[in-house]
Amino acid sequence: MLTFPIYLDNNATTPLDPRVLDAMMPYLTNKFGNAASRNHAFGWHAEEAVDYAREQIASLINCSSKEIIFTSGATESDNLAIKGVFEMYASKGDHIITATTEHKAVLDACKHIEKIGGKVTYLPVNDKGLIDLKQLEEAITDKTILISIMYANNEVGVIQPIKEISAIAKKRGILFFTDATQAVGKIPVDVEADGIDLMAFSGHKMYGPKGVGALYVRRKNPRVKVTAQMDGGGHERGMRSGTLNVPGIVGLGKAAELAKQEMEADTARISAMRDRLEKELLTIEESYVNGSVEHRLPHVSNISFKYVEGEGLMMGVKDIAVSSGSACTSASLEPSYVLKALGLSDDLAHSSLRFGLSRFTTDEEVDFAIDHVKEAVAKLRSMSPLWEMFKEGIDLNSIEWAEH
């Protein structure tokens, strides 16, 4: 049986896996100790649980448990990595390289760096959403201390050439940080094989709880350090103070364990559903996939439907929960900066939908979504003067539109 609206916005957040909740429950109730309390069993139990979660996470991304710094989420991890490296390595240089399609947490942390006197290069992406490795190499100066490129994009799901990027960073003696919030738990991420020095990820994107995340910080080859961005009790090897969110950390650990066990089977099932959804929706005339389909997360599809307006489309697909390429601020409708960076026109960016499937998505839900979107697009086009003109062969660019 279907319950509405059907949730297909799993890049925004994922539901909590019930098994994760079960693992967390004791730490929300009777095992409430502070992991830093060294004098009694309450503290020991909490610390044990945190240590175990560290192992579960380390095993998923192939690192040592000592290299995991717990945070409140990927936003904090992004900030800690970028600002923390900038401060820690100030004597080596002041230049950071990132890309225009990064998450706001990275972009705005970089803006902050610029405000305090650092220099940032924002690499463009091609129409598939990928950065150009040659441009990356050319952007490097003797002042470059950090390359910050996301593993996979949250809007289009495009996966950057991580191994190649890290090889360039290594060759030039530069640290490589990746925001892997959309990748960890969804596709194999191996900090050794991928050559990653710092990596951000978050619980709530991988069927774990909200409000918990981690920053991987390499301890060997090279040994990386970040300057703490909050002062306090010196938790997490002095890099992140604050009483540990034990239930959240236990949840993140369990989510990591489940991801490791089930990733292969999940991916096979989810990507088959995604491919079916996409194939069906692309039978709609004048519909286009945004971003690379070769280098892409298995559970995401971002599609633009030409000649329908984004907000009207969102209203028409009210029985499914998806994201649109419009960031609806209160006063205006801004097209997504990610889609714009891929070269989409404003109207194509506005008329895009992002579908994000999950472990819990069913074939029946996908069937419904296909019909629902097809119907909405057909209905809106039957009402659209632009569609009528297109069908009559009128070039819309030849019309003098009255700007208003």
């Binding site: 009207g312 028409g316 609806c328 209160s330 109207d347 632009l386 009528e388 019309i399 700007e403 208003h404």
Partner: protein, 137 residues
């Protein structure tokens, strides 16, 4: 954003969607807005010998409020004389559909579309185009 029941009703059951023959002399067509602004409205009226609007059709590319504003406009236009139609004010539409402030531009566009359709009809029939007071932009 929460839409009013009336907007939702017009969105779900738009009145008078369609196309009139723009080549006919007694049909006036107004096309306003721009694709990159996110709304384009086309409103058409058919006028009989007594200056009465006997039919009205619209097609709109836009949000729910834009669709509802133009749908409502066609309902109001039918049966009115051209002069009466000129008196339709965008704030009447705002009130009827309970549009929030950020959607007032949809009603403005609908009023522009009505006036633009009337002018098209006038020019086709040898009448001078009306000087339209540039509405509340």
């Amino acid at each position: 954003m929460a839409y009013s029941d009336k907007v939702i009703d017009h969105y779900n059951n738009p009145r008078n969607v369609g196309t009139l023959d723009k080549a006919k002399n007694n049909v006036g067509t107004g096309l306003v807005g721009a694709p990159e602004c996110g709304d384009v409205m086309r409103l058409q009226i058919e006028v009989d010998d007594n200056q009465v609007i006997t039919d009205a059709k619209f097609k709109t590319f836009g949000c729910g409020s834009a669709i509802a504003s133009s749908s409502l406009a066609t309902e109001w236009l039918k049966g009115k004389t051209v002069d009466e139609a000129l008196a339709i004010d965008n704030m009447d539409i705002v009130e009827e559909l309970a549009l929030p402030p950020v959607k007032i531009h949809c009603s403005v566009l609908a009023e522009d579309a009505i006036k633009s359709a009337i002018n098209d009809y006038r020019v086709k029939n040898g009448l001078p185009a009306l000087e339209l007071p540039k509405s509340h932009h």
